[in-house]
């Protein structure tokens, strides 16, 4: 846990620096109205995919939706969450450290729940850091953000991160393979991201949109507001995945390197 804390601090600093960089560019974007005209000519689904939505790149929320919330922030959160989830059980098992842990008077399912709490805390800390950084930068660069929408946007991001992080943990709880624990949630997340962005463009994808956590929480959250009930659906799915992890981990032999 202690070494995870150090890694999390490094992550938070890096992501905060990235957010600062993007926000600092905003004042120069704000004044270029040509950009809006260019974007206006894009087809609607493409704008959806890039997180531009119906708004404008020259407004603070529109700019941050496109530059941060449509891709980079979800990517940061997912890399952290899936990495932490895969490391928690499968990674520890492959490193041979799970053997000592499970020789202690701890039920396996409880160990998994404790690890899951760790993953959730890491994701939450990162999202809170982003929230604080954006709240602090808002007046500095004139981003003009609505606090409620910002909080909901990051809440949605945290829920998505926790879902895929716990999926990685659950795969590791069921099978002793870190590769699989990384690959499965990563491909689910990638597919979910594409479905969430493209289902409007490609009609045949539409029925699959319910499988995308990104679709549930909604796109362009700073302009449209995140769907709170969608966040609840994602959170419920995360809890179901975690329950499966707690059951599956009890059923198998520990693998030793």
């Amino acid at each position: 846990m202690l070494d995870r804390r150090r890694a999390l601090v490094a992550w938070s600093v890096g992501v905060a620096a990235y957010v600062l960089l993007i926000a600092a560019i905003f004042p120069s974007i704000e004044s270029s109205k040509e950009l809006d005209e260019l974007v206006e000519s894009y087809p609607e689904p493409l704008k959806e995919l890039f997180g531009i939505g119906s708004g404008s790149l020259t407004s603070g929320p529109g700019y941050l939706d496109a530059e941060l919330f449509s891709f980079m922030l979800p990517l940061f959160v997912l890399v952290l969450a899936i990495g932490a989830g895969a490391r928690a059980v499968a990674g520890e098992e492959e490193a041979g450290r799970l053997e000592l842990l499970l020789s202690y008077p701890v039920r396996r399912s409880r160990a998994v729940l404790a690890k899951a709490a760790g993953v959730a805390i890491e994701v939450a800390v990162l999202c809170v850091v982003m929230l604080v950084v954006l709240v602090l930068l808002d007046p500095v660069f004139g981003l003009d953000l609505a606090a409620g929408r910002l909080a909901a946007a990051l809440g949605g991001l945290a829920a998505v991160g926790i879902l895929y992080g716990w999926l990685a943990l659950a795969v590791g709880a069921a099978v002793p393979s870190r590769t699989l624990a990384l690959a499965m949630p990563a491909s689910f997340a990638a597919a979910g991201y594409l479905i969430g962005g493209l289902h409007g463009l490609a009609g045949w994808l539409d029925p699959f949109r319910v499988l995308s956590a990104f679709w549930w929480v909604g796109s362009s959250p700073l302009q449209n507001g995140a769907r709170v009930w969608g966040i609840a659906v994602v959170a419920t799915a995360a809890v179901a995945v975690l329950a499966a992890a707690a059951v599956l981990v009890e059923r198998r032999d520990l693998k030793v390197p």
Binding site: L100, S103, Y104, D253, V256
Partner: protein, 291 residues
């Protein structure tokens, strides 16, 4: 109890073993014989294909948390959190155990654990010390140790052996595995020998030693007929050179050997106990011919 791994590898076949309270039990076998598999079954890290294990009268599977509370375990291939210091690692293990660790300080001092260096900078022996401390710190009723002295220098090996004896003298039980009989012969009360997943012998260490052959070297004043010795029961002639003979003899044959030698003029007679390692190898050979 049996354990078959997926893919049909029979790691343990009908293992039946009782370890008594307050004894040091040495579990011996070559690498890959099933020692670690047995130990992991005890700890409910893996589950038996057939059979069951009782620890302190509790079921090792159903009551796993309770049994693990009462034992201490040292893995054969100890892996610790490399970025932590020994102190941080032990702190976190004490929290995990959730009970007092009254022996922690004294054990750290006794083994000379380097508490404040990151574990990744420690040698194998120094990591092993941390493993031993965590296995004993809560005064467990049973210590399960997979090759406890591996990586330790001879002085520390001796220290760990006395720790095991003290634990047994305190009425607590030690179950340790080793691939070397020599390593456990001064520590263990009884040993079990496992080979290719089968328990081939369980005996007191002294009994094993009694069964062991002596190496007898006799030098006579003048050459003698080696057949006089080779004909004795329980005696095997190993080497003849001039007026010197070297032979191996069971304890029961010693009287006959000495009496046969006494018919001639003896210059020198040396009898050395067989290395327990040889007994070990002998048992393997027996098991091979039997199987």
């Amino acid at each position: 109890m049996s354990k078959t791994y997926r893919g049909g590898v029979d790691a343990l076949i009908d293992l039946d073993l009782d370890v008594l309270p307050g004894e040091v039990f040495g579990f011996l076998g070559p690498n890959g014989a099933g020692k670690s598999t047995t130990i992991r079954l005890l700890l409910d890290l893996i589950r038996p294909t057939a059979g069951s294990i009782a620890l302190f009268g509790l079921d090792s599977r159903r009551d796993a948390v309770e049994t693990r509370r009462r034992l201490g375990y040292l893995p054969g291939d100890l892996r610790l959190s490399d970025r932590l210091t020994a102190r941080e690692q032990l702190d976190s293990l004490v929290r995990l155990r959730g009970s007092a660790a009254p022996l922690r300080e004294s054990l750290c001092e006794r083994l000379g654990v380097m508490l404040d260096r990151p574990i990744r900078e420690l040698s194998r022996g120094n990591r092993q010390k941390i493993g031993i401390v965590q296995a004993f710190m809560h005064r467990p009723e049973l210590a399960v140790l997979d090759e406890p002295t591996s990586g330790l220098d001879p002085l520390l090996q001796a220290e760990v052996r006395s720790l095991l004896r003290e634990t047994a003298a305190d009425g607590r039980t030690v179950f340790l595995s080793s691939h070397s009989l020599d390593e456990v012969q001064h520590t263990a009360d009884r040993v079990g020998i496992i080979r290719a997943g089968r328990l081939i012998d369980v005996d007191r260490v002294e009994t094993l030693r009694e069964r062991a052959l002596r190496h007898v070297s006799v030098t006579f004043a003048e050459p003698v007929d080696p057949d006089e010795f080779a004909a004795l029961t329980g005696v095997r002639l190993e080497h003849v050179e001039g007026s010197s003979l070297r032979l191996s003899a069971a304890e029961s044959a010693m009287d006959a050997v000495v009496k046969a030698a006494a018919r001639h003029q003896v210059v020198d007679l040396v009898s050395a106990p067989a290395d327990l390692e040889e007994i070990f190898l002998e048992l393997y050979r027996e098991a091979d011919t039997a199987g």
